[in-house]
């Protein structure tokens, strides 16, 4: 289906070049159609990218949700580690989508801003709840030092954000190593020795 090919090329070029440089004509050329044909499927350039964004966010959202569902069992440490690992895997398995996702976060055509931010917030809230549960349980079970859950979540997110950013600069091997290093230090900071 052409519509999907357009969308895929669109997010690929978004990843590579950003919104402005991802020209309708360059997208059309890569798809193998003429520029005006895009308008048979999307009202606008904005409309096209809004669709791309929506897909990207939904897929990401879904993936996180599903990953989390998989770690119902296991210790707090295992759960947290799995989350980090899963997200790293996702990032690395979908480098283009991740890059597109990043571009998205850094420049958004003003019109799309609000719509996209809503999905962002939704995702953040979900992740927040999950982490809250894990940390609370960890503390109750004496595995994690007793400290404000807020702090734990904040620094976990910061870790994730840092990794996310570094994703853009490192090769896969380096990145994986780095993720391990970072995780270790993080865990050492929060677990309670016996």
């Amino acid at each position: 289906m052409t519509r999907n090919r357009i969308k895929e090329v669109a997010y690929k070029q978004l990843a590579e070049k950003g919104y402005d440089q991802a020209t309708l004509s360059s997208i059309a050329k890569e798809v193998g159609i003429k520029t005006p044909s895009i308008y048979a499927f999307f009202k606008n350039k904005e409309d096209l990218f809004m669709a791309v964004y929506k897909d990207l966010l939904e897929e990401y959202y879904l993936h996180i949700k599903r990953s989390i569902a998989n770690f119902k069992n296991g210790s707090a440490k295992e759960k947290l580690y799995q989350i980090v690992k899963e997200l790293c895997n996702y990032y690395l398995s979908q480098p283009e989508k991740t890059a597109a996702y990043t571009k998205l976060a850094f420049y958004l055509p003003p019109t799309l801003n609000d719509k996209v931010k809503n999905i962002f917030n939704e995702m953040e809230e979900m992740l927040f709840e999950v982490l809250e549960t894990i940390f609370s349980e960890g503390i109750e079970q004496g595995i994690i030092k007793d400290q404000p859950v807020d702090d734990l979540i904040a620094s976990f997110n910061c870790l994730m954000d840092g990794l996310f950013l570094e994703l853009l600069f490192y090769t896969e091997a380096k990145f994986r190593r780095r993720a391990e290093q970072v995780w270790n230090i993080y865990w050492n900071g929060i677990y309670k020795e016996h």
Copy 2:
């Protein structure tokens, strides 16, 4: 001096709108000159932004260098904390420059890529050396757990990157709080209890 006013408006608009949307004409308009006048000072759009980038990076570089010089004395903990705090202060005191700096990191006109990356690398190396010294000393003095200095540096950088990214999404108050939280957990992870 007009040349500087151009550069300042340029990085301001870079921060706000990114490279593509920071049009020469929109820059000229804000400066209060006509577009072609820019060519009296810069060969190119690329040339202008290369200058902007260079300034941005050099200032950032210099700032880090100076900050570090200030913490010649003090414990490893103090030194590291000062680095975090100083950078956060810098980010917060120069939100526009920081935003520009970020845009720069996320999209660079291909021609500029190599030149800019060099400066990046230089900065990273410098920071690496500083951190290496601090961590090594900390371990020697028994303040920091004995562990690979590489890991310590990696996770310190990840912390900084995470904060850097979050800078874009949080208000100053929230950000400051977050920085404290993150630092605490980090330090708990690396210091050696007695």
Copy 3:
């Protein structure tokens, strides 16, 4: 019948926006079909509007013809007055058709020019003959001052044209008043006092 709905929407939009802005797609949208469907009924945009024009002209032509037939009896004054009145009624009862008719007169796609002008001329000739008869009789009967019939026809037409033009600028009430005023002065000018 779809064909007719297309035609009606077409002349309505012609009236509102003129030939160029009466887009096939905007017509299709208002009809509730897809643009290419129009081609099932009309060869062309030109073809469609040619049909619209033809209808418009024929209806107008027919109307004038029928109106005139009604005034077989009566004095010259009555006949002329009835023509003016009838046409004004027609204009006012079909404001959209009249507007379309006007647009038609003012811009015609070059290809249609000749075809349309033929119908115009036909109509004008018919009207000319009718007026000729009325004026000649009026003069013979001593009701109208003895003067060149040509002049009488010319100024009657000018009166009609003026009213036609003013139709576009005035409300119905104002227009009706104006028509009466103009007619009175016109008649006072040509009738012969005893």
Copy 4:
């Protein structure tokens, strides 16, 4: 000055083809420049045509005003006749401007509507006052039949409008003849026999 050449070609093409078909590129081609050059002088297509309209209206307005000033002396009949004659002369000496003026009256980009209508109204009011004076004086002096001045003005305007419309369909010679015929009948209608 290029700016003026653009405006002149613009109104010429407006006269010939109407607003939509008077393409910026076709205007540029006739001027002998490239399309984007137009934007050095006009913000917009609308801006360009607004300038054209303003010129057209102002010139027309000025011409009427000056013509009228010339007939300060003379009988009512002379004055009225001079107005008709002057306007016909103007129309005929500036066929393109008149055609443009007509196109203007029949289709106006919606944005320009209000601005242009103001100038229209101003002109109409001025003409109304002048005619009011002439007719009132004519009646006082016993040259014109005692009748509502409103009627006299309405039918004079209708005469002018009719002529204006016919201007588009007739050759100069025919038109001049027609104007004479129409004037005669008009005057015969309003003058008072002794």
